[in-house]
Each structure stands twice: as structure tokens, then as C-alpha cells.
């Protein structure tokens, strides 16, 4: 019973956080912050730009089909102050992304972090 209360209260707490727009120029209500998805794929394009950065990632489905995902990250003024460089991601690179997915199920999300081929991790600023 205590456990149930705890979960309900925590859920309410998380819902309040989800309603808070992130540090950005637009609402992030389109992303589902109750879920985290891990994507392994190949970088097709990295747009290190304002007002947001974008990663186009090609993911291979279990059936062997290619699926392109669009992932939104924060702006260079924030990312550069936390170790990112224009060349942190390059086309052809195999990376693992942790994202908050789109609520509508489309192939997109908000970047939480990226793990590079050398095993190092960069934060995407989600939250």
C-alpha cells in the first residue's frame, strides 16, 4: 500500500516535470519524458546549429530495413560549453543515442545523451 502511494506520488512528480518546457526556444510537450529509448545506428547528418542541433540517425530494424530517426539536441552555445565540438558527430559514425521519444510514435526524439565509438558520452541537455 505504501509502495502504491509512493509510485502514484512519484508519477505525479514526474508529470509535473514533464509539463515543464526544457531549456529551449519551444515547448517540448511533443516528447514523452516518461519513456527513454536507446537507438543504435549510423549518423547520416549532424546539424550543429541554432536554435537547436539535429542528428539524423539511420537505424537497422530487426527485419533488416533501414529506418531514419530525427533527434533534436540543444544549441551549440550550450553543447560547446560541455565538451561538444562541430566534429563530435560525423556521417558514417556508429553511435548509441539515449532519447525521449515522440509521443505520436513517429521516428523522432529529444537527445538525452550520445555514446561515441570510443565509449565516451556526451550529454544532450534534455531535462
Amino acid at each position: 500500500m505504501v509502495s502504491k502511494f509512493g509510485i502514484v506520488a512519484l508519477a505525479a512528480c514526474l508529470a509535473a516535470a514533464a509539463a515543464s518546457p526544457a531549456w529551449s526556444h519551444h515547448s517540448f510537450a511533443m516528447f514523452d519524458k516518461a519513456k527513454q529509448v536507446t537507438l543504435e545506428g549510423t549518423v547520416k547528418d549532424f546539424q550543429y546549429s541554432n536554435p537547436h542541433s539535429w542528428i539524423q540517425l539511420v537505424v537497422m530494424t530487426p527485419a533488416g530495413a533501414e529506418e531514419e530517426w530525427t533527434i533534436e539536441a540543444l544549441s551549440p552555445n550550450v553543447l560547446s560549453r560541455s565538451g561538444w565540438k562541430r566534429t563530435s558527430l560525423v556521417p558514417g559514425q556508429k553511435v548509441t543515442l539515449l532519447i525521449y521519444p515522440m509521443r505520436d510514435g513517429s521516428h523522432g526524439g529529444n537527445l538525452i545523451s550520445v555514446t561515441l565509438p570510443d565509449g565516451s558520452t556526451l550529454g544532450g541537455g534534455a531535462g
Binding site: I7, S27, V78, R103, I112, G127
Partner: protein
């Protein structure tokens, strides 16, 4: 049973953290480092405090360790760019109903109109939330503040001029600001802001009649505080005050932010899109 207990404890701990984080909103300015830098010299040749330099909001994104291992903001943790929740209780009809509908839509995951998504500047007082940082320049008769977010600037005139007459003035994003020193406190009076702006990202409204009074002070070296009183009798039952705090960051400088460069979030409806 042991597992259930662990879960219950974990949830209780998380809940306690959530409550504590929410309750402590804005109560402290946790030190980024043990030694807080402050502008030098401490005073300008005219004897007034020297606040020239780059400042970041206390508790803001550049105030946190944001490198590898970055953790998302804790649930319920304060967002320094927000107006205090108590201000919402003062909303008059029909602003109150409209505001509540926006909060409900946001909670339901609906994406609503946001002028910021169209790269329009926040204006006053939202720009003092200064998402990333604030550059302050003091020159004789003038203080210039530029928020890194959208490179939006405001000028505070200290040369004794008055506000333009309302019938002559074009309302602007930053409004018209005049100021004077009361000891080491800079008092700023702002009028003639646009009526279609919002006070924070929750879309807390303001009107053409809004009058802002700010009191800038340094509660400790290297920390700047802006107490902003919002007097808008069209929208609110009575005036209310919000406090912004900034940390002096000589290790950083204002970076370029051109929102129009690659704005993939534009949609014809003004709601941010995703593609």
C-alpha cells in the same frame, strides 16, 4: 517482501527529494565553486558598483555540470526562468481561464502556439530569465543588458531622461527603461512593452498597461539579484514580485545565437513542429 520494502523506500526517497527540491525553489544560490569570482574593480570611476561582465542564472543550465554524465534536472527542481506559482493565483478573468487551458493542453502533451518557436524575442520581463546568460555593459548614462538567448538587448537610460508619452510611444519587446541609483541599488522603471508578450514559458500573460519596477542589487560579491515587480492591473489583481539571481562568470562570454539560422520547429500555426 524485502523487494517490496525496497521499492517503497525508493519511492518515498524520490518523493521526499521531489518535495524538498520544490520547496527550496530559489531559496539558496548553491556555489558553483567554493570561490565565487566578482567583477574587478568592485566600483566604477563614478563610485557605483561595477557589474560589467557575463552572468548566468543561478540554477540555470550553465550553472550545472553539463558534461559527460549530465543528469536531467530533478523532478520538481526549480526553473529560474519561471515566475513564482503564486502569481497565477492573481490572474483576472478571462486571462485566468485562458492560462489554465494552456496548462491543461501542455500537460496533455498538446503543442500550443509559442512565439519563441518562431524565433521572436521574449521581451521584458521574460528576457531577464536569461536562459543562457546575460552580458551587462555599463557606460556613462546607460546600462546595456544582452541576453545570450536570441541576442536580445535592452537599454536602461541613467541620463535623467523621462519615458516618452504613451500616445507617442511604439510599444516594443524590451519596452522603455529609465533608471537611477539608490545607494548600491539600481532601480529601473520600464513601460511601453508590447501587449502580446508573455512573462515566462508557461505563457503567463501581460498587457500593454504593464509597469515594471526592478531593483538590482548584489547580495554577495559575484551574485547579482533582480527583484522585478510586475504591476499590471489589466491582468492581475495586485502587483507581485519575482526574483532573478545571476552568477558572475568571467570564464565565459556571450556566444552567438541566431535563432533563424536552422529553425526546423516553425509551423504555419505557430505551434512548434517536428520534422
Amino acid at each position: 517482501m524485502a523487494r517490496l520494502k525496497t521499492n517503497a523506500l525508493g519511492c518515498a526517497a524520490a518523493l521526499a527529494f521531489c518535495v524538498v527540491a520544490a520547496a527550496s525553489a530559489g531559496a539558496q544560490y548553491p556555489a558553483k565553486s567554493e570561490k565565487q569570482a566578482a567583477p574587478t574593480p568592485a566600483r566604477l570611476p563614478d563610485g557605483n558598483p561595477n557589474w560589467t561582465g557575463f552572468w548566468t542564472p543561478v540554477g540555470g543550465i550553465l550553472d550545472r555540470d553539463f558534461g559527460p554524465g549530465f543528469k536531467p534536472r530533478a523532478p520538481g527542481a526549480p526553473n529560474p526562468a519561471r515566475a513564482p506559482a503564486a502569481s497565477r493565483e492573481l490572474l483576472k478573468s478571462p486571462y485566468k481561464e485562458k492560462y489554465e487551458q494552456i496548462q491543461k493542453d501542455t500537460a496533455d502533451g498538446k503543442v500550443t502556439y509559442d512565439d519563441a518557436a518562431l524565433c521572436l524575442p521574449p521581451g521584458m520581463p521574460r528576457m531577464m530569465g536569461a536562459t543562457y546568460g546575460l552580458e551587462i555593459l555599463q557606460t556613462p548614462g546607460q546600462v546595456t543588458m544582452t541576453s545570450e538567448y536570441q541576442a536580445e538587448s535592452r537599454r536602461i537610460w541613467l541620463d535623467g531622461r523621462k519615458h516618452p508619452r504613451d500616445e507617442d510611444a511604439l510599444p516594443t519587446y524590451a519596452g522603455h527603461s529609465i533608471g537611477h541609483w539608490e545607494g548600491d541599488v539600481l532601480v529601473v522603471d520600464t513601460v511601453q512593452t508590447r501587449g502580446d508578450l508573455v512573462i515566462d514559458a508557461t505563457r503567463l500573460p501581460q498587457s500593454l498597461s504593464m509597469h515594471l519596477t526592478e531593483r538590482f542589487s548584489a547580495p554577495q560579491p559575484g551574485i547579482l539579484q533582480d527583484d522585478i515587480t510586475v504591476d499590471d492591473p489589466i491582468v492581475y489583481e495586485k502587483p507581485w514580485t519575482m526574483t532573478k539571481r545571476y552568477r558572475y562568470r568571467p570564464d565565459l562570454n556571450l556566444e552567438e545565437y541566431v535563432c533563424e539560422d536552422n529553425n526546423r520547429n516553425v509551423s504555419p500555426t505557430g505551434a512548434p513542429s517536428f520534422k
